[in-house]
Amino acid sequence: MITGQFDYHRPATVAEAVKLLASLGEDANLLAGGHSLIPMMKLRLAAPEHLVDLHGIAALKGIGREGDTVVIGAMTTQHELLADDTIAASLPILRETALLIADPQVRYRGTIGGNVANGDPGNDMPALMMTLGARYRIEGPSGTREVAAAEFYQGAYVTALEPGEIVTAIAIPAPADGHGYAYEKLKRKVGDYATAAAAVMLTMDGGTVASCAIGLTNLSDTPLLADEAAGIVIGTNLDDATLKKAAAAAEAIMSPAADTRGPVEYRKHVGGIMVARALTRAAGRAGAAG
């Protein structure tokens, strides 16, 4: 299988990439890890005339801290996230999620920026970024701006990204010490997208939930925040009745497609189970309030 023809560009700076996108117009596509785009190009579902490869831009790589914020360059690979001490210490849920993405080879190439910016509802990082309150740093022809992950996703493959813009980094507020976390993903096999998945971040205080955020993957055209379900568990000790109520509240906002992963009712049902399991596991990991 071979893709359509295209011209290959490899800018060395973000400014150069932005300039290229402006001059090449809508026939140009950004190339990050390529593990979504290149298969689409082989199927001719994507046929860009120009590819702007971001691998030559050193400034898009790396993980660092700015005060209480963890900043991850968009071209940082899933493999690099897994190997990083800052991530392991401050954002263990990111590690847990990255381990469930695709397979080792794909994780060496796949980037966090590509994962969040592509707008594929099957990708795992978008719902997690919403759960974490992350913000995307964007550079384009009219300068730089930030968009909250929660405001980024508008539909399947439709995002707040304007033509000519590039997601350059992801800024994540470091979670409180002692927080509990879990990413529960049901999938048919290694490498598959989620049949249903849920991200949970919470803090506990004296045996009850003090704060909670819940994100849902592949259960709608966009990643979702299950705010009502999160509200239900706050102040409780996550007894069975509460877990059931929270799962039901989360199921109420799910609108998955019926596909080879199952019919709508099944996917919503297991979506609720993912929420309950993630809540339970996150609470088990939470220490004393930080």
């Binding site: 023809q5 080879q105 060496y108």
Partner: protein, 166 residues
Amino acid sequence: MAKTHITMTVNGEAVEGLVESRTLLVHFIRENLQLTGTHIGCETTHCGACTIDIDGMSVKSCTMFAVQAEGAAITTIEGVANADGTLSALQEGFRQMHGLQCGFCTPGMILRAQRLLQENPTPSEEEIRFGIAGNLCRCTGYQNIVKAIQYAAAKINGTEFQEAAQ
């Protein structure tokens, strides 16, 4: 369409070629370099038969363009044997443990396992299975592939290889 001149190091040797932008790296390796040990299984990023080592990463070479490998250091199955021509520990493991049946997935399995053992010289069985999750064996001979990798790990570490009780 204009072609691009590319250079890279493959199995320690400097190589070059003229390629279209859309030439997949695996096609460049097999057709331009005539190194046909790297196999094309699915060509859709699923099977891992085309796995090679690029700058310390295991990569499915059907999902990367040859132009992207400019300046890279690549190892393919042809570069895996010891310098004196004897089998590497992994190759020997696959031979001793019957780690291949039809052999089609073997080059990708060996390249992936080699990187895995460099990152984790003493993997558990579970870590091996997780580490080769991107490589499919259609003969479903995973049991012996895992044993082959365990054999190689033991040989590299100078420890005794013991088959787990069945």
